[in-house]
Each structure stands twice: as C-alpha cells, then as structure tokens.
C-alpha cells in the first residue's frame, strides 16, 4: 500500500441475482484529497460506496486502510469504527431526536447519556461550522438542508479519515453548496480524504482533485482533474464521443405560434403552499420552463397548475373554455400530465410491475369500471418500452428494481400514454446519466414539434436554455420575470433571479 494512500480498494466484485454490479473495480483515495466518483446510473457507484460502508458485503476483492492493512467491513458499525463516515443523499438521522443526540448517538464510550455536556459540545460544533440552530431542538423542526449539515457535522466530529458524501448537494441551494465546499476544504486541510459522489459536473470541477470513472460495473480510469476536460470526462462515462450533446447546442428554440389560443391559461393561481398568485399561459407546441433558486416556488407553481397541491384561488381555461382544475384527476381529464420532481416519493409505485406503472394514469382516466384487458395492457407497455428504450428484465418486473434512469422513463411513458395536450416535466433529468438526459431533451423537442405543449423544469439552466423558448423566473415564491429569444442566456437568467430590487431592501 502506498504511503500517502488512505484507502485502497482492489479487485472488488459484487453480484446480485441476475446482475454483475461490480467487476474488478479498483479505487484509491489519498490523504487530503477530494476525489469524485462518477458514472451513469447503473455504473456501480452506489454499490461501491455501499461495499465500503458495510451496507453490502463484497463478494471478492480486498480493502486496505492506512495503518490498518487489510480490513473486512461487514456492517455500518465496522465501517464507522474504521474511520469511514458517510453522509447520504437521504437524511439518515432520526427526526424525533434532538440535533445534539443525532450528532452523538451510536458512538462513544459509556452507557449513560450526559445531557449537559453533550448539548454544550454539540452547540460548539454547530457554531464553529456556521449552522444556525440550537443543539437541543428536535431535528424534525429543521429544514432538509440543515439536517444534511447536521449529518456532516456528525461526520466531522467523528474525526473520520475517509468521508463519503453521496450526492450531498441535490437538495441544497447555491448558498448552502458554497458553505459545504468551504467545509470540505477545511477537512481537506486536516488530511481527511473525501469521496464526492455527484452528477453535477460544475461542482466536480470546482472542488475536486481527482476523478474515478465507472461504467457498467467496471473501472474506466482514475484521472487528475487538470488532465481531464469536461467533454473527455463525459465521453469516458458514456464510452463514446459525444456528438449528441453538440447536436443540441444550437441557438435556443424560437416559438412561432403566439397567436393561437392557449392550450392552458391560468389567472391568479395560488395554492396552500404559499406562492403568490400568478398568471400563466402556454400555447400548443410551445416549450417553456420555470427557473429560480431552490425553494423559489418552481415546483409549487406547476403543482398548482396540476392541482397536486391544494388550490386556493384562480381561474383556468383550457383551449379557451373555462374549466375547474383543483385535483390531479381533473387536470388529467383535461389533458394535462405531470412528471413529479421526486420520483421515488411521488412517481413510482414501487412494488407494482413496469406494466402496471405505465398503464396506471391512463387506466384512471378511462374509469373504475373499465379495466384494460391483459392483452391491451401488455400492448401499451411494450409500445413504450420500445419507444423509450426502457431496460427491464420483463414487463412484470417490479419497477423498484430498475435503475433510476429507467424508472424515470417508465413514468414518462405513463404520461405519454395518456396523450396529453400539455405535459409538465419537473426535473425529469435529475439524478440521471448524461446519455438519458440528452434523450429526454431530444424527446421534449420532438413532442413539441408534434403539437404538445411542454413545461420543462431543470436545476441545470443550460438544459432549459437548450429546449425552452420561454423561461419564467421565480424568486421567493413570486414570478419575477419572463425571458424569450435573445434573453435566453445564462447571464440573463442569473440576473433576473438575483433581481435589481435587492439593493432597495
């Protein structure tokens, strides 16, 4: 083992029934290094991490730790004992306990809890990291972003030698990401090795030193960041040169049909989620987007349009005729479809088969007393599996065993099957590999050209700039601007989000 390596994984193999998740993967982490682990969905990133943290037990291969030699890691506790700490994308803390308890639970000697000293230590830790909460408040009363920081604080306090951050920035806004990076650099100074698993290319190039790329469960290579420009990284992840991306990089689309009757027209829409009343309309064949900081209300807007949240006011017209849309069912009946932001929570019905997930929305639309015949359902499912190239063992596989990208495609298939007039896609490309991302963007443009109206929301502004002909900008739950044509540039978007009014405050 090398002298400045903290961690060496050699020849790691892991198999699941029917799937070779990892084959002969090597990974090295050095002292004081921030190391990105990248790969598309299904590449094996999370499996590798789970093997390292004891959630899965490896089938073959060795793990070496500095000063400890070869180690066996068979449980999260053993991983923790070996100085490996993990902060996951989903908060793995207990919401019913206090912040201080969450920081210190599950470790330390002694059988008794010393509340006063625990609270004091916790508060000191939180203050030193700039996390503005009280140590003795219940964790559930903190926002998700803060909860994540508490998770990191815990890892920091455990003086780990290896810190794994698994998609930590997915739910954070720019401010919080900056704070996180500051923290990471602090830890780097101390000699901690950080494994940073993420899909955000910008972030990788901002803070990492090295990149390891996985593809289809095998190692593609380990590179120093200065030796690997973006396009090369992407092509290594995909295994080919990326002409596709270049295809879409044209001038932003322009929409011609402004004079037609809007497919959807809403005035004074507001919901129980606290967005200010807004007006919105979209014409046939138009693609528009909502942008803004996290929490600015983008998702809440489209949820109001779909009736997913409790609608408290406003009037709606579809194709010029007044309609009532306060529930998802009513929206569906009027030809609107909605791909939710959180696919695991709101999108997939985990134990149901791929087939049932695809036909679900159309079935509800058709009615309680008119179930599809087995043959028809099969036909529908196969049609879209083929169309969207969904990778699944069979139509009857439970959707939860598919990879994230394929699950997303199934949900998309579900709504396409209903042949909506107006399709809302909220973060359809989040947590998805680049190849599928491009496919989805191309699909959106194709659907629009066939006459469907689409709202496309993405936290990656350039995706929206490539596909939308109109961008609505949100700030603090208010609609603050609309950009079209020449205005569709990154800087214009950023400026509108920031807004001129801030100086007036």
């Amino acid at each position: 083992m090398n002298d400045d390596s903290l961690l060496e994984m050699r020849g790691i193999c892991k198999y699941f029934p029917g799937v070779k998740a990892l084959q002969n993967v090597d990974f090295t982490l050095r002292k004081g290094e921030i190391h990105a682990l990248m790969g598309e969905n299904g590449a094996g990133k999370s499996t590798l991490i789970k093997v390292l943290t004891g959630v899965h037990v490896k089938d073959e291969g060795d793990i070496f730790l500095k000063d400890k030699g070869k180690v066996q890691i068979r449980s999260p506790q053993e991983a923790q004992n070996n100085g490996i700490s993990t902060v996951y994308q989903e908060i793995t803390l207990c919401p019913n306990l206090s912040v201080a308890e969450n920081i210190f639970i599950g470790r330390g000697k002694g059988k008794f809890v010393k509340w006063r000293s625990m609270n004091k230590k916790a508060q000191e830790l939180l203050d030193s990291l700039g996390i503005a909460i009280r140590a003795n408040q219940q964790l559930a009363s903190c926002s998700i972003a803060v909860q994540q920081m508490v998770a990191i604080a815990r890892a920091v306090d455990m003086e780990c030698s290896v810190l794994i951050l698994d998609e930590p920035t997915s739910s954070l806004d720019e401010n919080e990401v900056a704070k996180l990076f500051t923290l990471m650099r602090q830890l780097k100074e101390r000699g901690v090795g950080i494994i940073f698993v993420t899909h955000f290319l910008d972030q990788v190039y901002e803070v990492c030193d090295r990149i390891t790329v996985l593809r289809d469960g095998t190692l593609v290579g380990e590179y120093k960041i200065e030796n690997l420009p973006r396009l090369q990284l992407v092509s290594k992840m995909l295994g080919k040169d990326l002409d596709d991306m270049a295809d879409i990089k044209e001038a932003a689309p322009v929409y011609e049909g402004k004079d037609t009757t809007p497919v959807y027209e809403g005035k004074g829409l507001c919901s129980s989620e606290g967005i200010n009343p807004f007006d919105f309309e979209i014409h046939p064949g138009e693609v528009n987007g909502f942008t803004g900081l996290l929490g600015s209300g983008r998702s809440e807007c489209v949820r109001t349009i779909f009736g997913a949240d409790k609608v408290t006011g406003g009037t709606v017209k579809m194709d010029g005729k007044p309609v009532k849309i306060t529930k998802p069912r009513e929206a569906m009946m009027n030809g609107i479809g909605y791909l939710p932001e959180d696919r695991k929570r709101d999108g997939i019905v985990g134990d149901l088969s791929v087939k049932d997930n695809i036909i679900l929305a159309l079935q509800v639309k058709t009615g309680f007393f008119k179930p599809f015949s087995k043959a028809k359902a099969l036909e529908f499912a196969n049609e879209y599996i083929k169309l969207l190239d969904i990778k699944t063992a069979s139509v009857n596989t439970p959707i939860k065993s598919l990879s994230g990208g394929n699950q997303q495609k199934v949900i998309l298939a579900r709504w396409l099957l209903t042949h909506p007039k107006y399709l809302i896609l909220d973060e359809p490309t989040r947590g998805i590999d680049i190849g599928t991302k491009t496919d989805i963007q191309k699909l959106v443009l194709k659907l629009a050209s066939e006459g469907m109206s689409v709202t496309f929301i993405s936290s990656e502004t350039d995706e929206m700039l490539r596909t939308c002909s109109r961008l609505l900008v949100m700030r603090d739950r208010k609609l603050v601007g609309e950009l079209t044509g020449d205005q569709l540039t990154q800087s214009a978007v950023m400026n509108t989000i920031a807004g001129g009014e801030k100086n007036a405050e």
Binding site: P76, T86, N102, I105, F112, V113, A132, Q138, E176
Partner: protein, 366 residues
Amino acid sequence: MNMSNVNSSVSAVKKTRKRMTDTNLLTTITVTVFVVMYVCAILFLKEGFLKPQTMLNLISTNAYLIILACGMSLVMITGGIDISVGGVTALVAMSCAVYLDMHDGNVYISMLIAIGIGLAFGLVQGFLIAYLKIQPFIVTLAGMFFARGMTTIVHTNPFNVSNKDFVELKDTRIIIPLLGSTTKKGKFIPATIEIGVIVALVIVLLLFCLLKWTKLGRSFYAVGGNKQSALMLGINVQRTTFISYVICGLLAGIGGFVYFMHVGSGSPSHATGAEMNAIASSIIGGTMLTGGVGNIIGTLFGVLTLALIQNIVASLGLDQPWWTGITIAAMLCIFLVIQSIIISRRKKADMKAAAAQSNKEAAPAS
C-alpha cells in the same frame, strides 16, 4: 416574533420560542386531562373521590397494568407491538397458582417462575422479531394464542390459592403515613396500598431513567424514529429491538405476578383484554404506535386515566355492562384524533418555517 430586523440568522434562531418535543407535548396533554378529570370528579361526584384511599385503590387495582403498559410503551417506542402480555399474565397467574397449591411451593420460587415465563416469551418473541425479521403483530399474536392455550393446558378450571405464605403476602398492606380518612365515629383509618404498587412505581422509575439517561434507552427512540437511519448511525438495531421485547416480556412476567397477588387465583379468563388496555393506556399517555415518541410518565397517567374513567362510570351509577367499554373507547378515539391533528399541524408548520428560513438565508447572499 419579528424576524425582519434581525441581522444574523444565528441570533434569529436563538430568539425563537423554545418548543417542546413531540413526546413532551403529548405527555403534557395527558397529565392535564387526568388532573382536570380528577378535579371534576371531586367537584361533581364529591363523596368518594375526596378520600385519598379512592385514588390509592385505583392504583392498587391497576398496578399490574402499569407494569404491563410500561413494557408495552417501550416496545411501541421502538416501533413494534406486543399483544401477548395479557396472555402471559394469565399464564403466570395460573402457573404460580398451580405451583403454590398443587406442588406445595415456595412463594419466592413462584416469583422466579413468573419472571422465567415472562423472560421466555420475551426471548423467543424478541428473537423471531428482531433477528428473523418477522412482523411483530403476527409473532405476538401467536404468543398470545400460545399463552392462553397453555393456561388452559396447565389447569382447566379457575380456583383460589390457599397457600398460607402467599395469602399472607397478598393481604399485606403498606401504610401511607399522613394520608387517611376519618370515619364518622372519629376513628382514623390510614390509607393503604398493596405491595404491587411499590413494585409498579419502582419499575416506572427504573424505566424512566433507562429511557432518559442511558444510551440503550435513547437507541430505542432512535430505532423507532427511523430504523434505517438508526442502522446507519451505528446502532445495533437488531439487538436494540431484541432487548425491547425481552424487557417487555420480563415486565409481563412481573406484572403477571403482581396481578396474581391482587386476585389471588388462577383462571383461564384472567386479564382478558389486558393487552388492549395496555396499548390504550400507552396511547392515551402519548406513545405513538408509529414509534419514536413516548414517555413512561405519560403511560403511568394513561393507566390512571383509564382507571379513573372506570371509577367515574361506576359511581355515576351507569353499571350496565356496556358503559365502561364505550367510555374507554370514546376516550381513546378523542385522544387519537387530538394527537393526529396536533402532529400533522406541527409538520405543516415545520415545513413552512423551514422554507421561510432557507429563503431568508438565500436572500442576503444573492
């Protein structure tokens, strides 16, 4: 709470009103309700309730239920359930009765038998639930069936225990100094309680300390709050779950013996519905079936509330058999509805406050 003038978010947060945890809030409600009910009882039903002995009898009769409910709360906090405790109580009573009268047994050994039976149930059930990961409801349902069946197999007919040592123990009363009532003739009768009450209170105290000040106790809350997280935080979830069932079983055994001391007999129909009473008491006491929330003091008051209702109903002259059941059910219903409303309101308020917080923090930087 005017946040707009505050400079840094740190001091802003420190200014927010201190908020009770879910557990504490629910417990406070329970205790308040109990006190209010008792006061009303005193005011409107005067006679009986003013005597301290009434209250103490309440506790004596339900000492076993307190113990059972404590074990139940523990398991519920961990996110599980144990519906075998009533059956175990009956089995303990019958087994000890048979041992004492038909095998001329020693009282102290019969206590060991009681504990042994309880522990056995706890160990087996705990193993099946924690290590084989079988659903708690099914395992403890089978446990209940088994215990009830075994009670009949041990001895079919009910009978009273005549073992001398035991009867002596059963009739021992502990005098509470200073409390008591005066008869019409002026004689002072001191207030007494059964030994079981002391046992119950000791157990309440022990469990309270366990839950508040030991790491094991806190890990019960963690496992109940989010099992997956607890695992990731390094808590041995299997062991924690296992221990919770073992303790519950043990307490069922002890509670069973206390029950036995109170009734002095063995019968297959003893303690019917005790498990449901234990669950109801826990819920009324603020323990949530979903886990992670609960408090022993609350449970204690839950049992007392239940017992108080029964007393009130009886003294109101509503002695048709159905009134007690209906009133307890109504009480349970009310508590459940209140709990669910409060918790869901809190969740909504939290989400709004959190969103507002992150927007506030984002604004200055942009």
